[in-house]
């Protein structure tokens, strides 16, 4: 691979990542450009109540509910897909910290 191309590969990687959440239904919510420093309350604001409940349940409780048929896998998986898609948008940034003085590129 030519040394010139690393940015093209990086762009392909980011497109791949962003495309990968398109299969999530309902679509992953949009997020504001102006994010608070603490991101942890945002999922509760943007997701449905049942999605919040499922994703905030411990794994041991979830496996019990799944094993007994109280919850089905499609519902659980979909809730986590939605929250994970949202998480991806929230915590992955292309911003490089200014302390090292490299150039900044924003992709939002």
């Amino acid at each position: 691979m030519a040394k010139r191309n690393w940015r093209e590969v990086a762009k392909a990687a980011q497109d791949f990542r962003d495309d990968s959440i398109k299969g999530v239904e309902p679509p992953v919510p949009e997020i504001s450009l102006y994010l608070p420093r603490n991101l942890t309350s945002i999922p509760r604001e943007l997701l449905a109540q049942d999605e919040v409940l499922i994703t905030e349940t411990s794994p041991e409780e979830l496996v019990k509910s799944l094993a007994s048929g109280k919850l089905n896998s499609t519902t659980v998986v979909n809730a986590f897909l939605r929250r994970a898609g949202l998480a991806q948008k929230l915590v992955l940034t292309l911003k490089r910290p200014t302390i090292i003085g490299t150039s900044l590129t924003f992709y939002f």
Binding site: M1, A2, K3, R4, N5, W6, V9, A10, A12, A13, Q14, F16, R17, S20, I21, K22, G23, V24, R37, N38, L39, T40, P43, T55, E56, T57, S58, P59, E60, L62, V63, L66, A67, G69, L71, N72, S73, T74, V76, V77, N78, F80, L81, R83, A84, G85, L86, A87, Q88, L90, V91, L92, T93, L94, K95, R96, P97, I99, I100, T102
Partner: protein
């Protein structure tokens, strides 16, 4: 993200349950997130390198095969740092992964993608890897549980990275979770599948019921020794406060004894591990970065180019440093055995300290590109001790004040102290 496959798998599991009226296995229907370099068949396997973007997994990693047979759903793969050897998570493919509690800080690394995802509850159980702190750093930074198991317990075949066949410092795979039970469930499920049958290096020890292992079961106190500082880099005030809070609670339990753990030459441990991390002089890492011309990230420069211990070792030097590692392990075992209170039937020491309670890092989550002290995690990799991280508290600027007039012990300590601001 793997939405189509995940939903298709979920449907299969739901249909199975409806037909057979029982789950496929202990993880039936549960979504489990996976650090990207733990391979999935046909899927990308770049381990954080731009030049590896087109690599694909030939097969599912052994640990994932076990989790799959237990009925789980794979739905998300998480990112890693360039080189995999940062305790943060930035690469030139996807950028920087920040801490969900404070996006000016790192989520930790190298399983920082897992840390951030679990921290935001986009997952409740994830699979990471650790050779210097990579499960424990994101767990601590993001307020989660994480386990670095002993080596040769959880099968590692099918992961990607540099220097894979080397054995002088072994990376492990282990769980991160939002609950302690999630950690136990992972270990129990993986070991119940007898991984030693497909990966003979794994030891043939099942997951042991912990109650029978505790000294209380034998009428003795649980002896917990606290490592307040490794005497090289002093932990920040919030860490000391957290340790004090845990100790205060433990002191209220009748069958628990609290002591202090005196660190034994933790600087020597770093010297050894930093030398054996890159026995080829980091040639594979350097080649992987330079093949694409991607820029060197600050923490890659730190651990490779600026690391005074990195040099290509001869075969004799590899043997020498391996024997230094073993000598150090024996010396540390002696320190441990010297805490014995008695002798067993065969002359073996008995009644030693049961567990060390220690900081996971010299501070709370550092600002981006500032995580330069590995000593509180890599120490236990060198010794190959299992290490569990659990959340205690969050930083409170009103309580956690920087120590004024502190005289740093050395350059690393000075760097860490000024980070406290």
């Amino acid at each position: 993200m793997l939405p189509e496959e995940a939903l298709s798998r979920a449907k299969y599991l739901d249909d199975y349950f409806n037909e057979h009226k029982r789950p496929v296995g202990p993880f039936h229907g549960l979504p489990i997130s996976v650090k990207e370099h733990i391979g999935m068949e046909g899927k990308g396997l770049n381990a954080g390198f731009v030049s590896w973007w087109n690599r694909k997994g030939a097969d599912d990693a052994n640990v994932l095969k076990i989790l799959w047979r237990a009925g789980c759903v794979f739905y998300a793969r998480t990112t890693e740092p360039q080189t995999l050897m940062h305790i943060e998570t930035s690469n030139n493919l996807y950028g920087v992964t920040v801490n969900p509690c404070n996006r000016d800080l790192t989520s930790g690394g190298s399983s920082g993608g897992e840390g951030a995802l679990l921290g935001l509850r986009g997952s409740c159980l994830g699979v990471g890897s650790d050779i210097g702190g990579s499960i424990r750093s994101p767990s601590a930074n993001c307020g989660l549980y994480g386990l670095r198991p002993s080596s040769y317990r959880v099968p590692t075949n099918g992961s990607s990275g540099t220097m894979l066949p080397e054995e002088h410092i072994v990376g492990v795979i282990g769980p991160l979770s939002t609950s302690l039970e999630g950690i136990k469930l992972f270990m129990k499920t993986v070991l119940s599948a007898k991984p030693w049958l497909i990966e003979p290096s794994c030891v043939t020890i099942p997951w042991r019921d912990q109650d029978s292992q505790l000294p209380i079961a034998h009428g003795q106190k649980l002896r917990i020794a606290v490592l307040w500082s490794d005497e090289i880099v002093k932990p920040h005030p919030p860490i000391i406060r957290a340790l004090n809070e845990v100790v205060a609670k433990l002191q209220n339990i009748p069958d628990v004894e609290i002591l202090t753990w005196e660190p034994y030459k933790h600087d020597e441990a770093w010297e050894i591990i930093a030398t054996i991390y890159f026995a080829d002089g980091a040639k594979e890492e350097i080649d992987a970065i330079e093949a694409s011309g991607e820029p060197w990230l600050p923490l890659s420069k730190f651990i490779i180019q600026e690391n005074p211990h990195v040099k290509r070792l001869s075969i004799e030097e590899v043997w020498y440093w391996t024997s230094r590692r073993e000598q150090y392990r024996r010396a540390y075992a002696k320190v441990w055995n010297d805490t014995a209170t008695g002798t067993g039937l065969n002359g073996e020491p008995e009644g030693m300290v049961d567990v060390i309670l220690a900081p996971v890092g010299p501070g709370a989550a550092p600002p981006l590109d500032q995580s330069k002290y590995w000593g509180y995690t890599s120490q236990w990799n060198l010794l190959d001790y299992p290490a569990l991280v659990f959340p205690v508290s969050k930083v409170d600027p009103a309580i956690d004040k920087t120590e004024v007039g502190y005289a740093p012990m050395n350059e690393q300590d000075a760097f860490n102290h000024q980070l406290c601001e």
